[in-house]
Symmetry: C2
Subunit: 433 residues, 2 copies
């Protein structure tokens, strides 16, 4: 496609959307990519840059001088994207780039935003928004909007503040069309708008924006002054990442990996849980080794090890997944630990009874060994009850101590239940014989 035909390339790039260009770039080598970058106008180049993978972006930025980064990219970015980009660079580069930004106001905003913790509303917000005073008339407001709107990609809401910069209301764009000549904005604005504090966590932001079906959310400081806005596309990215993290933790993958990552990265993400599982398995062999003479006397005992270990693991994963999901979507409150455990116990009582009864009937007719028939069913019952309560309690406890409850899902729960399941099985068998 690329025979140095510059005008054709420029035309092609102009017609494509940034996300599509970013996809195209992943197939090019670095030099070609830089060449094409130089052909794009500033805003498009900036958009494409933000659509790239983090890794590709880092590679590209390393090749470019700070002045070029400031002039070709940062100048054309919204402040929230600029801050995201800066966070990926080291401090020296950050300062160098800041010194090259021509728009002093933008540089100041970026410096202010960099101070916020990355996991708070302040760290996610941008400062591009249309702000009007509650006492202005609609014509004055429209005029002001015209001058502010030039710098912005999209406008969804207009925020209304009082003379002290405190957020008083939101003006849906619809109102500008339906009531074009109102004398004071405050008569048509929506009062008491939904807003988040700059110190609120990203999860709270996501829950708020979803609960009220908004596409953007104003951010206020501790005394109610409007300091920024968060748009839904940034929130969606965060929500997706959170989901992927939970899913990966439940599957025993300790870092964010993609199918496109190389072999070393994938191994590094997967080996830790496998090693922990291995230690658990070796621990289990030591435990079972203490009963070696029982196995010699009664080899049938060994046949049910997979059944008991596997059932414990399955029950534990179910229980912990339900708790993690309940905590994530806020349907389960910290205070309800006991209620949840009682309910979980009721569910498990039914499941445990059915499973151990079926296994009892099967073994009664097929196994011809009363002692093991009894101990297997009793152990199954005990393991299911234990695994479900343990699987409920551990994530709720982690959550209480502000640790991500998703850590207590997947391999953690199945390895722990495997060991405790074997203990229960061995002790019940020993007690019955």
């Amino acid at each position: 496609i690329e025979l140095k035909d510059e005008t054709a390339a420029v035309n092609m790039l102009q017609e494509l959307y940034p996300a599509d260009i970013a996809e195209l770039f992943q197939e090019l080598d670095l030099e070609e990519a830089i060449y094409l970058y130089m052909l794009m106008d500033g805003e498009k180049a900036a958009d494409v840059l933000m659509e790239l993978d983090e890794e590709d972006r880092r590679k590209l930025l390393k090749e470019l001088p700070s002045e070029l980064i400031a002039k070709r990219f940062i100048d054309f970015m919204e402040t929230d994207d600029a801050v995201d980009l800066m966070r990926e660079l080291d401090e020296d580069t950050q300062e160098e780039i800041l010194s090259h930004i021509e728009d002093v106001e933008q540089a100041g905003d970026i410096v202010d935003l960099l101070k916020y913790d990355e996991d708070t509303a302040g760290g996610l917000m941008g400062t591009e928004m249309i702000v009007v005073n509650e006492n202005w008339s609609m014509p004055k407001c429209l005029e002001e909007m015209r001058s502010q709107a030039e710098e912005m990609d999209e406008i969804y809401y207009v925020y209304v503040v009082d003379d002290d910069e405190r957020l008083r209301g939101v003006l849906p764009l619809k109102k500008m069309i339906t009531s074009p000549s109102v004398s004071k904005i405050k008569h048509v604005m929506k009062k008491d708008p939904i807003a988040v504090k700059d110190s609120d966590s990203i999860e709270e932001v996501a829950q708020t924006i979803e609960k009220y079906d908004l596409v953007a959310l104003p951010v206020i400081d501790s005394i109610g002054r409007l300091v920024g806005r968060i748009t839904i596309d940034d929130v969606m990215d965060e929500v997706r990442e959170q989901h992927e993290r939970d899913y990966q933790l439940a599957s025993g993958i300790s870092q964010d990996v993609e199918t496109s990552d190389n072999v070393i990265l994938q191994t590094a993400a997967r080996l830790p849980w496998l090693l922990i599982g291995m230690i658990g398995g070796l621990g289990n062999s030591v435990l079972l080794g203490g009963f070696e003479s029982s196995f010699a006397a009664n080899p049938k005992m060994a046949l049910f090890i997979p059944l008991i270990g596997g059932t414990g693991g399955n029950v534990g994963i179910q229980s912990s997944a339900i708790v993690v999901q309940g905590l994530a979507n806020n349907s389960l409150k910290q205070g309800n630990v006991w209620k949840q455990i009682v309910k979980e116990s009721a569910v498990s009582l039914i499941n445990a009874s059915i499973i151990s009864l079926v296994v009892f009937i099967y073994n009664f007719f097929m196994l011809n060994n009363r002692a093991i028939t009894a101990s297997v069913s009793l152990s199954l019952f005990a393991v299911v009850m234990f695994a479900s309560i343990f699987g409920t309690l551990v994530p709720m406890t982690l959550d209480r101590f502000k640790i991500d409850p998703a850590l207590a899902t997947g391999p953690f729960i199945s390895i722990t239940n495997d060991i405790i399941g074997m203990m229960i099985y061995m002790f019940i068998t020993a007690a019955l014989s």
Copy 2:
């Protein structure tokens, strides 16, 4: 709070957001809720209704006559919400309600929308949008928008069509403010807008809206005519549900359950996988039973059953999770089956070598039984290799046959690997002795 003080209640309801009222309602009994419903104006009542849980909504609607549902709720709803609501009712009630809708155009739209498959863009879209002709001038356009905007909650984009109703462009609201007097809309609109077909799947819609960072998406039919629009809040709900479904499948929960669901519902969602696991465990006991004499002769064999079964399960879950996630976010393409298997094999070769080597060294010094030391490590190596390739192949095969690949995660993979792991272990041990 509720001492039949009507005016106070009305005031309170007017100040609260629908989502908050819905939360309040979950704590009231049915009669109180109906009483409060009658106090709210139509639009708010409709919004609150859509914020309720599906179950609560069904209970409430059962108590109300169809005419009231049509007049108090459907009339005030956007068509996409109305269609969602109608889908929850049986056909007789649907027809009865449709006959009571006063706005014939709205009723017609609802009938049309009900024809689409629920899982397509057509099933998700609504028809409320502002549509203008490409040849209109901006003043004419604004005037038209004023009359159309009355019926709508929010406006994000204005869609531009030609004389044949075909979608030609999108007009960002910003343009209305920055270029108020342009003679033909087509000169300022954004051409070739991103759109989806009405037959596209919801996943495609979600990927499109996320990729291009949009807040609403126009829907076209097979010949390019604009038939509706999808807003990001509906897409977000769908994405969340998809994530929750994947997570639950990976955790062995077969239906959508919440911590707030009753004991019977939770048991029904969880028992199926536990029973399948139980059958797998019993199958394993039959398999191991064939080697009973080996256990009698060499009871140490039993000690490593949990290690080998557990490791196979852990590896399989990791592999299948990576594939499921790759397919979900489109980073893994169907055509790349072999490439993915080769890569997966490379990762597993490293993991398998490390784990079996560590176990070999441990057993060499601790176990004092050469035959078992060798067979455990060999088996571990074989099980890890098998589990990773199997965990990659099964979800990719399901996906090829248009079955949800997430079915092949969680308990399915761990139960299968448990059985095959035991087979490998037994046959290698038998072969070595």
